[in-house]
Amino acid sequence: MNKTVLTIFFLLTLVLPVQDVQAKGKRVVFIRYQIPISHFSTVMDGFKKTMTILGYEEGKQIEYIDILTRSADKSSIPDILDAVTEWKDKADMIITCGWVTMPAREILKETKTPQLFVPTLKSVARIILPSMTEQPGTNISGMYLMYSPEKILRLASLLVPGIKRYAYVYNSNIPADMIFKSAYEQLAFAGRHDINIHFLDLAMGVNQVLRKLQKRDIQAFGGIVGSFQKRQELAASNLPVITSFTLDIETADLQKYVQEGNIVAGLFNPFRYCGEQAAEMTADIFNGKLTIEQTVPRPARQVAFINLKAAGRLNMQIPFAALESVDIVIK
């Protein structure tokens, strides 16, 4: 009996401290959606690792709730709203990845629960917050991505001198593509670098897009989510793809994704870095250094690359000025 009691007591001593830590730890809820390649898992990885370094070991000082939506499109919105409703009062921090931030914000803006967008496009972040360089003054901050349409067109004019026609290929069913399309549409004349922008919707079918690319004598095109998903089919156009990646691609994995297809150059933001930065912001809030209202949004790390292999396939001459400017040259 005593042996049994002692055994039970011993087991309790092992269990109870865990329960105590869990009871005192912070709860961080990740809400992310289905988007290739890894559905923002690199964000979580970077976040967790950095938090651990900063003294928040998972399962002890911090607990993570990871919610992944069923799809990448608007059909996931009910899932998002349910998750926010469930956790809005129980989480110490809710991290929303990508366009999920927008529907989640509709609920969280009525609460005091801190929200970090990790990451969103800068254009999306500007819808939520008036400034990216000042304290938000509300319960949301985060990391924003900086591959604006203007930068892509600037890169296109550098790589294809005299380019006049560029196509933005998107999928109208994907919110991220639509948001980016809106950014293209709102681009000021000066920011278009004398390039006429054509909008081609993959929802009409890839073949239709290919025909239009040819018919309109497009000189280069690009896109984010939709066009990345259809990159192999679109390679049939034999047109250079100059684009930006909103995907959670890491620098080390870049070469793998551009081996095939016509992606000649682009900008991307490694998502892991965003997770790491979000962790620093969260730790500051948890440690009481700053409140969420005082936490200024941070930019993602930008990386520029040129794929000489694709350029070679397409017989493109890449100017030296472009080569010396980029971070990565894939030979």
Partner: protein, 883 residues
């Protein structure tokens, strides 16, 4: 040793002056070179240093800027990671950079925060901010102190960091070449000064010492010691100089003696004065003869002592003249001097500025001109007297030289010719004295030429006119006479002339008046005879009318004839008035009738309308009706002639006036008559002259009409004035004194009744038998007994006889004028001597004869103007009888 001693020491000799000069020369030559060189090097170092440092800094900043530019190419300019990386790497590079020995880089943000600096970190915030202000001027080189050294820096603003990047180095290192240049230059300068000092020793011995001896010798000479001796060794050119100077001294001694002799030779006093004060410095020997002072005494005097002292000849004026020499190089004037014995005398003074011992002075040369001055004064006085005499002569006098060039023109000649003395002097006589024939205007040869050629006195014949400078013309009487000098040679001519225009005009006027008087006498004679004839006509008509029925046609015809005879009687009265201008025969009369009759008569046959307005109670005036009628006629004739043939309008008014003027006579009451026409009026410039005798604007006017009017009104103690307001015609205004002796309103019938009370014994004297007959007839009608006489003697005889026979005459009627016999005036006087109680009536056609006008004072009881009417005769007889 004070400053003055140092100064004295330096320039005590040529030697010290030479040394000082050498040092000064070297210094003056070197210091500017040193300063200029230093300045140039400094400037070059600053400019090039600034440029080099800027270039160096740019070479450091350009790669960093390029990195940022590369980011912008592909849109990574906002990638904080990239930006941080570039900045970190760049700052790390800059931190290890070193320029030459002391150059280094610093970076200071725009808000003053030090990003990194090896040296500026020691500066406090205020000094750093001060430097930051200087950094903003990135074109200049900035200078500042750090802890140990003086640094200079250039900066550039780097916008990517919002900071200033600066390259600083020690100033000493940058300006090392300049400092080296200064050290070398100063060393050379000191060496040169030392070498120059060594050179002065032989120069002193061989050059300066002989020069000093020469200078000393020259000093002695300048002090007047011409016997001074020059010793010592002289080499080269100095030996020549010595020889030349001693030669010059000998020459100078000889010349000094010669000039002194010349200086003392003239009789003129030569005096040297001090410029500022006029003090005497030197004088020649002539001063003693002129002023009586010895030379030594004279030099102690002042100018005031040798001047008369009579203003302006005193010290003050003399100083003033000396001061004037500052502005002129020569001054000459006369001065009243005073000798030692007090005698005042005139001198001629000539002043000239000069330099004496390098001091400004005045040289005066004084000449005694007392005798000359007195002679000149006498001559001038005589000349002045002659000029005054000439210019005071009442005739024009012009003198000219033998070439006919005018010398003198006196005042009258100036006035007549229009040439002033100044204008005429030097002109030819023909210009100044332009003579023409009065009758035909042809030029006449000036008598001066004939006088000059013949040497005799020439007088101009009459009818010579002088054309004055202004073109006016006047008749002159002229004569010319040659002027002879002592040797009887003709040296000029004098012309004497006078204006005879007025004289001739007066002569003409007198002639005219004489003619008029002749006409007047003739008119008077005719009037007298005419009067006699009228007396017969009028008297007989008068008598015949008595015989006729008043309503009969013959009676009316005779009445008209009688009226015409009356008019004729007035005409004769006017003729008589005109001829003698006699006193008015005043009687109390009503002007209205006189005005109306004369106006009507004058305007007969013209298109001129006239109106006469008079009050019913118009006062009587004491006038000569004939003369006043003549006045009215003349004025209206004047208006009629002034108005055009289309006619006009004359408005005449007569009104009583209580006290219309300040005139004593008129102030007790007058009748004011105005005659206004609507003619063109009289121009203002001739308005005042229209009453002048012989003034007429009409070609055929005598110029006497209005003059007679004025004369008549004046003799009536009245006033005649004329006004001619522009555009309102001519207004004549006549004021005549009111009569205070109103004639008793006796009618002729009453007089007749009175006269008929007594049958009178009447003597009538007249040279005209026709009139005697008429008088006899009239008096018979009046039932008087009548006897007649044809002259005064007969009348006196008859009167005396009648007295002796006891049938004396009650009344004697005498004609005033008996041609070739005793007239009424004399006969009346003698008759009164016979019978002082005699009642004598003087009768005459000369109504304005003084006797008629003042018959009572001539002893007459009454007067009758021929021709007279029966009623008038009866009235006069009644009056005498009444008396």
């Amino acid at each position: 040793m004070n400053l003055s001693n140092i100064f004295a020491f330096r320039f005590k000799s040529i030697q010290s002056l030479f040394v000082a000069g050498i040092i000064l020369l070297i210094t003056i030559a070197s210091i500017p070179l040193l300063l200029t060189g230093t300045f140039i090097i400094n400037t070059i170092t600053s400019e090039f240093g600034n440029e080099i440092l800027h270039k160096e800094l740019n070479s450091l900043i350009e790669p960093i800027t390029l990195r940022y530019k590369i980011l912008e190419r592909i849109g990574l300019e906002d990638s904080q990671i990239h930006l941080n990386e570039i900045k970190t790497n760049a700052i790390n590079d800059l931190r290890h950079y070193q320029y030459r020995k002391t150059g280094s880089i610093f970076v200071i943000s725009r808000n003053g925060a030090t990003i990194f600096s090896k040296e500026l970190s020691a500066h406090d915030a205020s000094s750093l901010n001060s430097l930051l202000t200087q950094f903003k001027d990135t074109q200049k080189m900035i200078e500042y102190h750090n802890a140990t050294t003086r640094r200079i820096a250039v900066t550039q603003y780097f916008p990517y960091w919002n900071a200033y990047i600066g390259l600083a180095m020690d100033k000493k290192e940058l300006f090392a070449p300049r400092d080296l240049f200064i050290i070398i230059s100063l060393t050379v300068l000191i060496f040169m000064l030392f070498f120059a000092s060594l050179c002065t020793l032989p120069i002193h011995h061989f050059i300066i010492t002989p020069i000093l001896r020469l200078a000393n010798y020259a000093d002695q000479l300048s002090e007047g010691n011409l016997q001074a001796h020059l010793s010592g060794t002289f080499i080269l050119e100095l030996a020549t100089v010595k020889k030349n100077i001693t030669g010059m001294v000998n020459t100078l001694i000889n010349r000094e003696e010669k000039y002194r002799a010349i200086y003392n030779a003239p009789r003129d006093a030569i005096v040297l004065h001090e410029a500022g004060t006029g003090r005497f410095l030197e004088a020649n020997e002539a001063i003693e003869a002129m002023y009586g002072y010895t030379r030594e005494e004279f030099l102690d005097l002042t100018i005031g002592d040798i001047s008369s002292g009579v203003p302006p000849y005193a010290m003050e004026e003399a100083e003033k003249k000396i001061r004037q020499l500052k502005y002129v190089d020569h001054l000459r004037f006369e001065w009243q001097g005073k000798k030692k014995n007090g005698q005042i005398f005139w001198v001629d003074v000539s002043l000239r500025p000069f330099f004496h011992d390098n001091q400004p002075g005045v040289l005066s040369v004084v000449r005694d001109i007392d005798d000359q001055k007195k002679a000149a004064e006498n001559l001038a006085a005589e000349k002045e007297q002659l000029a005054i005499t000439l210019r005071s002569i009442g005739d024009g006098v012009i003198t000219a030289d033998n070439q006919g060039s005018v010398i003198l023109v006196n005042k009258i000649a100036e006035k007549l010719t229009g040439w002033s003395q100044q204008e005429a002097a030097g002109q030819t006589l023909d210009n100044v004295l332009r003579l023409v024939d009065t009758k035909n205007g042809t030029p006449i040869t000036n008598p001066a030429w004939e006088a000059l050629s013949t040497g005799s006195h020439i007088e101009l014949s009459g009818n010579v006119s002088l054309i004055a400078k202004d073109g006016s013309k006047r008749e002159i009487a002229d004569s010319a006479a040659p002027i002879f000098d002592i040797s009887s040679k003709i040296v000029g001519v004098v012309l004497v002339f006078r204006d005879v225009t007025e004289k001739l005009r007066l002569e003409k006027e007198v002639l005219k008046i004489q003619k008029l008087e002749s006409v007047g006498v003739l008119a008077g004679g005719i009037a007298h005879d005419f009067n006699n004839l009228l007396s017969a006509i009028l008297g007989n008509i008068n008598l015949v009318r008595r015989e006729l029925e008043k309503n009969s046609h013959p009676y009316a015809l005779l009445a008209e004839a009688e009226k015409a005879s009356h008019r004729a009687r007035y005409l004769t009265q006017q003729l008589l008035t005109f001829s003698k201008g006699g006193e008015p025969l005043r009687e109390s009369a009503n002007l209205a009738e006189i005005i109306n009759d004369n106006a009507k008569f004058t305007l007969r046959g013209s298109n001129i309308q006239y109106t006469l307005q008079t009050p019913d109670d118009l006062w009587q005036v004491n006038i000569d009706p004939g003369q006043i009628g003549q006045v009215i006629q003349n004025i209206i004739i004047n208006s009629r002639q002034a108005m055009n043939e289309d006619g006009g309008y004359i408005e005449i008014t007569a009104e009583n006036c209580c006290s219309c003027t300040s005139n004593k006579i008129l102030s007790s009451g007058c009748v004011h008559v105005t005659i206004k026409d609507n003619g063109p009026g009289i121009p203002a410039n001739i308005l005042e002259r229209i009453f002048d005798p012989y003034f007429s604007t009409k070609q055929k006017g005598s110029g006497l009409g209005l003059a007679i009017c004025h004369s008549i009104i004046q003799k009536h103690d009245g006033i005649l004035v004329v006004e001619s307001p522009p555009g309102k015609g001519t207004h004549f205004s006549i004021r005549l004194p009111v009569s205070h002796t109103i004639s008793p309103p006796q009618t002729a019938s009453e007089n007749i009744a009175i006269a008929s009370k007594k049958q009178l014994h009447i003597l009538v004297m007249d040279d005209e038998q026709m009139l005697l007959n008429l008088a006899q007839e009239m008096l018979t009608v009046l039932e008087h007994s009548v006897e007649t006489a044809s002259n005064g003697s007969d009348a006196l005889n008859l009167y005396q006889k009648a007295m002796e026979t006891g049938n004396p005459f009650d009344v004697v009627i005498m004609d005033l004028t008996i041609p070739g016999g005793m007239g009424g005036k004399e006969a009346g006087t003698r008759l009164l001597q016979i019978d002082p109680r005699a009642k004598i009536i003087v009768a005459s056609g000369y109504s304005n004869d003084p006797v008629m006008a003042d018959y009572q004072n001539h002893g007459f009881s009454a007067m009758l103007i021929k021709p007279f009417l029966l009623s008038e005769l009866k009235e006069v007889l009644a009056a005498i009888y009444h008396q």
